[in-house]
């Protein structure tokens, strides 16, 4: 008996999860008169024309739905087929129907693409899920291609995205939490993390920040980012931005939290560190020597992207003594006849490159290529021949641009190109000293920056020697037994002894 009661009791308490977040919604009991109900809904929706009313039973009942949101076939299959086949007597007995007596509740339901059925003389409203969904394939994201590894990517549907993550982490500790953000857009936001690994304090912090957002519209995580990040005045992105499920999964397993929104394929990862932007999935799929080498190249590209034009300007207009004897005359001959001072030269070239890039992005790819050729080859060549810019400066700026594109994250790449300007100006005013001051400001800023209370420049500042294994280099995976400390994981150990078999085999061979 007790067992049965328990079962029944439990059943009583179970509710639709979708109602959970809407407990405090205004209640508008439906009336028994059909026309009143229909009128109420029509008024609430401002008599929009795409709200379809389908009269049934000689006007004794109606089926209401938003025409663009529903799938006609589903209506046929889910509602009319069972009726026609005679499986059910009444429409409310159809298995996937749910009923309610709250008219106000029907508004979000309709907006979600459900159909509702109302009858004259009954206050019960029955609703059916007949949403139509248009999805792209889970293709590899264009902006984060890799050579080896999984080639799927997030799409605009949150459920599919979560599916991709759940499929990769089949564990009970994976927690998804929904939020509705945007007073008018009612965008679905989900945060995903591993309970027991992610720091609950950071989770709480993130929840609190999301809840305190009060805006009419949320479009994408990029929109969300500025509301919840620690230091919105910093040029550096404080949350990693990715469309790759494998990257998200790896970060979740490090104890970080992913934040996703309906209608956007981008996931935000918090807390992030500077060096996370330099890691790519490829690093872990390749041999670790290659991974290390590529990563070193990437980090070198950071220095080149930020400092190279500044260094060149400082050398050319302040400290040409540092040129070795062999380079003196070649450099001198290349810049001798240039009309403008180097700082202006550099600014012109950097701006030209930005122009070419920006115009290339928006145009369809055949035209974009033409722009690249016209911009890169024709302008580059002509500008040197005309004597406006020295060919060395062209080399320097082109190298800088290439170096800035090496960063796997587009966000950081843009930031880097922006950081070149103050450094160019400082170098043009104070020479090396200006560059040093520029870098000082930059590193102090990076050390001060925190992402969700976690130092942004970890593991370099604060120094954590253990985590350097996956920062400048990538050591073999079995050597990274601990999760990086910067995400404050509750559980440090990420793997046990995984190569014990070596010892076993050696022992076996001895015997």
């Amino acid at each position: 008996m007790g067992f049965l009661r328990k079962l029944l009791g439990n059943r009583d308490r179970i509710e639709d999860t979708s109602n959970k977040n809407q407990g405090q919604q205004p209640n508008q009991p439906s009336s028994k008169k059909l026309s009143e109900n229909v009128e109420y809904l029509l008024n609430e929706f401002k008599r929009t024309d795409d709200l379809k009313i389908r009269a049934m039973n000689n006007g004794q009942a109606v089926l209401m739905y938003f025409e663009p949101l529903v799938d006609q076939e589903k209506i046929q299959q889910n509602i009319f087929n069972p009726l026609e086949m005679g499986h059910v007597e009444h429409i409310s007995e159809i298995p996937n129907a749910r009923s309610s007596e709250n008219l106000e509740e029907m508004i979000p339901t309709l907006l979600r693409g459900h159909a509702i059925y109302m009858e004259d003389g009954s206050s019960t409203i029955t609703r059916f899920n007949v949403t139509s969904v248009f999805n792209r394939n889970v293709e590899e994201p264009q902006n984060e291609k890799i050579v080896r590894g999984s080639h799927d990517g997030f799409i605009e549907n949150l459920m599919i995205n979560l599916n991709l993550i759940r499929k990769k982490i089949e564990h009970r500790d994976l927690v998804v939490k929904y939020f509705k953000v945007g007073k008018k857009t009612n965008t679905n936001i989900a945060i995903v993390y591993m309970d027991g690994i992610a720091d609950p304090e950071i989770v709480q912090k993130l929840e609190k920040r999301i809840k305190s957002i009060s805006v009419d519209m949320i479009q994408s995580p990029g929109y969300l980012e500025e509301f919840i990040e620690d230091n919105p005045y910093s040029p550096f992105p404080q949350m990693l931005n990715t469309e790759r499920p494998d990257r998200v999964v790896a970060n979740i397993m490090e104890g970080r939290i992913a934040l996703m929104a309906e209608g956007s394929p981008t996931a935000l990862i918090a807390p992030s560190t500077f060096f996370m932007f330099y890691q790519a999935s490829d690093d872990y799929n390749a041999r670790w020597y290659t991974g290390t080498f590529v990563r070193l190249v990437r980090l070198a590209s950071f220095i080149i992207a930020i400092g190279m034009p500044a260094f060149y300007i400082a050398v050319i207009s302040f400290h040409y003594e540092v040129l070795p004897d062999e380079l003196l005359l070649p450099v001198k001959s290349s810049i001798n006849e240039i009309a403008y001072p180097p700082i202006l030269e550099a600014l012109i070239m950097v701006v030209i490159i930005e122009l070419i890039r920006e115009s290339g992005i928006r145009l369809p790819s055949p035209v974009g290529q033409t722009i690249g050729i016209v911009g890169g080859l024709v302008i580059g060549d002509a500008v040197v021949r005309a004597g406006l810019v020295s060919n060395l400066m062209v080399i320097v700026v082109a190298l800088t641009a290439i170096a800035s594109f090496v960063v796997p994250s587009n966000e950081l790449s843009t930031t880097l190109r922006l950081m070149t300007f103050p450094l160019i100006i400082l170098a043009g005013t104070f020479g090396f000293l200006g560059i040093v001051f520029g870098f000082l400001f930059l590193t102090v800023h990076l050390t001060r920056l925190e992402s969700f209370g976690v130092p942004y420049f970890a593991p370099v500042a604060p120094l954590n020697i253990n985590d350097l294994k996956d920062t400048f280099v990538r050591l073999p995976l079995f050597m990274m037994k601990k999760r990086p400390k910067d995400a404050h994981p509750l559980q440090e150990k990420a793997m046990g002894e995984s190569r014990e078999w070596v010892q076993h085999e050696q022992d076996n061979n001895k015997n």
Binding site: V322, L433, V436, F437, F441, V444, R448, P462
Partner: protein, 368 residues
């Protein structure tokens, strides 16, 4: 979380690097010259003597700090001398710290103008420097500690430059040892002590560091001897690189010896050395800005810390603007501050210690 990270204590490694980065500063470039001007080729002995002598002062610092494990330096003053006298003494210390910062700023800009930017006006260079320091110091001691640890990589680069110049050194220039007796060597020790004057930071932030008192004492000593050895290495390298007579003309031997090296990629290593040295100056100056600002916060009991750092930076920036490149006045001011240094960084510490001892025994007596 951000609040809790600020509250977390410094690790001993960070403590080590704070002390090291504070002590190694403006002086390193001219230290060999200063030692040489007093003690000739025996300057390195002076340096060792200075290092050993300071060991005693560091011990006193530790003894003071150990008695007040959860108070910073200015709070200790109030605890030792009673509230108002303590605040007065703290103010004197604030004045001392800000004056040291001014000297640092003056010497820094003078050197920069001498070596790289002769035409650039004083105010812009000092402003840039103080802005960096203000930005760093207002981040709090934890951010400073992180930064100092990070930039300590540059010390290795500096060391690399110096090691490279060893190839042209001649050991013959270190001889004869003690030819003129001990008197000049002792005089030289005075110069040596000067170059360590940043050690007071170990007292000021002692309470913010984790670990048992013995562990912290060990860290202080390690940091101190690291600096001594670092200095010793640079001094010996420049003494063996330059001949004895030449040394007496060259004010910044570390820079001078790098001038002639020519690699296939770059020449003039001294410019790079100078650029890295700027970082060391910035860390030293930041510590003083921090100490001044911390003192102001403690003395006036303000809740917000940033305004006191801004005030500190302002106090430090303005007076040097009136001194500028005037060498004579810089030197006068420098000498004055050096004597203040002996009073505040050495003599006064003993006084504080004895008074705290007396008070301690009095209280014990009263209690029993």
């Amino acid at each position: 979380m951000s609040k809790t990270t600020i509250k977390t204590k410094l690790s001993r490694r960070q403590y080590f690097f704070i002390i090291v980065q504070t002590e190694i500063g403006v002086g390193i470039l001219s230290l060999p010259y200063d030692l040489h001007s007093q003690a000739k080729q025996d300057g390195w002995i002076s340096l060792l003597i200075g290092g050993v002598l300071l060991q005693i002062v560091l011990l006193v610092i530790w003894l003071i700090a150990k008695r007040y494990p959860d108070k910073d330096f200015f709070q200790i003053n109030e605890a030792v001398f009673s509230k108002w006298i303590g605040k007065g003494i703290s103010l004197l210390y604030i004045a001392y710290f800000s004056m040291v910062s001014m000297v640092l700023l003056l010497l820094f800009v003078r050197l920069i103008s001498l070596w790289v930017l002769p035409q650039t006006p004083f105010w812009i260079l000092s402003l840039l420097m103080i802005l960096v320091c203000l930005y760093l110091a207002s981040g709090g001691i934890n951010v400073m500690a992180r930064f100092y640890t990070f930039v300590s990589v540059l010390l290795i680069v500096l060391l690399g430059f110096v090691v490279y110049s060893l190839k042209d050194s001649q050991i013959v220039f270190l001889f004869p040892i003690l030819n003129d007796g001990w008197v000049p060597v002792i005089k030289g020790a005075n110069e040596a002590v000067l170059s360590f004057f940043g050690f007071i930071i170990s007292l000021v932030i002692y309470s913010k560091v984790e670990g048992s008192p013995a562990q912290r004492l060990r860290t202080i000593f390690y940091a101190h001897w690291f600096v001594v050895l670092f200095y010793l290495f640079t001094v010996i390298t420049s003494f063996t690189f330059f001949s004895t007579v030449e040394m007496s003309f060259i004010q910044e031997p570390l820079l001078y010896m790098l001038k002639s090296f020519d690699f296939t990629i770059v020449a003039r290593l001294d410019l790079f050395f100078l650029s890295i040295w700027v970082v060391n100056v910035a860390t030293t100056l930041t510590t003083y800005v921090y100490m001044t600002g911390l003192g102001l916060t403690d003395v006036f009991g303000t809740k917000k810390t940033t305004p006191s750092y801004i005030i500190a930076a302002f106090i430090i920036l303005v007076p040097p603007l009136f001194i500028g490149y005037n060498m004579e006045r810089v030197d006068q001011f420098n000498n004055f501050v050096v004597w203040m240094g002996y009073i505040f960084s050495v003599a006064f510490l003993f006084i504080i210690y004895f008074i705290s001892l007396i008070r301690g025994s009095l209280q014990k007596g009263g209690a029993s």
